[in-house]
């Protein structure tokens, strides 16, 4: 089993969510993050004090999948999240040791979906 962490542009979230649903990996956990990447931050000014804000708002997706769904999940995210501009984000993939569904106590691969 694999665990995907994807950092994307906030305004792409809805498209990515739809793409994931179409790719049959609908289950996902979403959260707000700030990212410093290659994309330039926007300077902020408060009463004359300039601050080179380097952190930009991003959205983080976490998706646990069985191996055979990995590629289509990555694919779905990449295609739907891409604008071609710097700042589009990254996908990180981890080995997932175990999963459990709290409601039923089910474990492993079948608990993932």
């Amino acid at each position: 089993m694999k665990y995907i962490i994807a950092i994307i542009q906030p305004h792409k979230l809805d498209e990515v969510m739809t793409a994931l649903e179409k790719a049959e990996v609908p289950l996902v956990t979403v959260s707000n993050v700030l990212g410093r990447g290659r994309q330039k931050g926007v300077t902020e000014i408060y009463r004359g004090t300039k601050e080179a804000g380097s952190l930009l708002k991003k959205v983080k997706l976490e998706i646990a999948v069985n191996e055979d769904f990995l590629d289509r999940a990555i694919d779905a995210v990449t295609k739907s999240a891409r604008t071609g501009e710097v700042g589009d984000g990254k996908i990180f993939v981890f080995d997932l040791h175990d999963v459990m569904r709290i409601r039923t106590g089910e474990r492993g691969s079948s608990a993932i979906g």
Binding site: H11, D14, N32, L34, V42, E44, I45, K57
Partner: protein
């Protein structure tokens, strides 16, 4: 001069001030996305600054100054507040200092262009917005105010009645808002991704303050603390209550749930509709005006807009344009001389007031719409009215103002 009347109009001026900031600013500010809230607050705040200056420098004179002859516009005789001092001007208000009348009207001149912010929210460039607003105030608001309220104004001479600004304020800005949002185009992602209000409590705060300030707007327009002010106060309150409740009930029936956003929107629609009528109709008829406006504006906002697909982001047209026109017509139906002897009788009271009302309701929007089109085209040619797509995506707060509304960390 009468101290009671003066006190009341001074207070009313402060109340109308509070309608724009913080009222309207928060009403609209809560409805946009987190990344654009400051742009709304900024637009409302800078309108307060810039139009107040425009008003004392020449706007007031254009609107209320001595007519230049054809009932079209006031001259520049009162520019820079010349002749506008502590003595009453009996043409407008015989019992309060002239300067009090002027500053009361100033707040109307300020809020009118601010209402349009709802239409072009989240995508207009700040510089273009600023230039547009100044031109619009001068070329649309000032003439209209003169036509309807100025001594010698042609609509006034025609017998048109607009107690507190159904035509001058709401219909004019609402229709201009529609033209603007059609010209500017839709926001990126409109109808594809959901645009949820980022802070509905702010919207409720703003809505409540609008209602609060509107007592000054409508009852203050009596320009005295008398029974007419009392009637305007009561009808304003009741029409609003009726409209708010009606909208909630419509939603309940349509979607199974009444929402606070719907209720507040209904209340604002009620305030708009009763504005031209509050000093001419009785409280029971105010209830009808409120109920009807809820139905009409609901239709405009929730049905027609979705069908036609224009992006009137915060429903400036759907609420102010539609509601203001309905209120203006309602005067022609429900006005009674029994309520205000300086008024007239509407259709239901055997009078012919409907005709001047209809003329106003057609001509003023038309004028406002055409002028808005021209001014927009000019501004767009000069400086490109819309922000770049990339800036729109990042948000106007950061790209137009280099500020963020809320910190994220800590």
């Amino acid at each position: 001069m009468n101290t009671g009347d003066t006190a009341w109009v001074l207070v009313s001026t402060a109340l109308v001030f509070a309608m724009t900031i913080p009222g309207l600013a928060f009403f609209y500010g809560g409805l946009v996305r987190r990344k654009n809230v400051l742009s709304i607050l900024m637009q409302c705040f800078i309108i307060m600054c810039v139009i107040s200056l425009q008003w004392v420098l020449f706007g007031y004179s254009l609107s209320f100054g001595p007519d230049t002859g054809q009932g079209i516009i006031g001259g520049l005789k009162w520019a820079g507040l010349n002749y506008v001092g502590g003595q009453p001007n009996a043409d407008y208000a015989a019992t309060i200092p002239h300067s009090v009348f002027m500053i009361f009207q100033c707040m109307f001149a300020v809020i009118t262009p601010a209402l349009m912010i709802g239409a072009f929210a989240e995508r207009m460039k700040f510089s273009a917005f600023l230039v547009f607003t100044i031109l619009w105030a001068t070329l649309v608001y000032d003439p209209l105010a003169h036509w309807v309220w100025g001594t010698g104004g042609w609509m006034r001479n025609l017998g048109g009645l607009d107690f507190a600004g159904g035509i001058v304020v709401h219909a004019s800005s609402g229709v201009s808002a529609l033209v603007l949002c059609l010209l500017l185009g839709k926001r990126v992602g409109y109808q594809k991704t959901p645009f949820r209000p980022h802070n509905l409590p702010f919207t409720v705060l703003g809505g409540a303050l609008l209602w609060f300030g509107w007592f000054g707007f409508n009852a203050g327009s009596a320009l005295a603390a008398n029974d007419l002010a009392a009637n305007a106060f009561v009808t304003t309150h009741i029409a609003t209550a009726a409209a708010g409740l009606t909208w909630a009930l419509i939603e309940w029936q349509q979607h199974g749930k009444p929402t606070i956003l719907g209720t507040v929107t209904g209340a604002v629609a009620g305030l708009v509709a009763i504005t031209p009528a509050c000093g001419f109709v009785n409280p029971m008829n105010a209830i009808f005006i409120g109920i009807i406006v809820a139905f009409i504006c609901y239709l405009a906002v929730a049905v027609i807009k979705a069908k036609l697909g224009y992006d009137d982001a915060l429903d400036a047209f759907g609420v102010h344009g539609v509601g203001g026109i309905w209120g203006t017509i309602a005067v022609g139906l429900f006005a009674e001389k029994a309520v205000n002897s300086a008024g007239a009788n509407g259709l239901f009271f055997g009078g012919a007031q409907l005709w001047p009302q209809l003329i106003m309701a057609v001509v003023a929007p038309l004028f406002a719409g055409v002028m808005t089109f021209i001014i927009y085209k000019l501004v767009d040619a000069l400086m490109c009215a819309r922000v770049k797509e990339k800036d729109e995506t990042i948000g106007l707060d950061l790209t137009q103002q280099s500020e963020a509304a809320y910190t994220v960390i800590e």
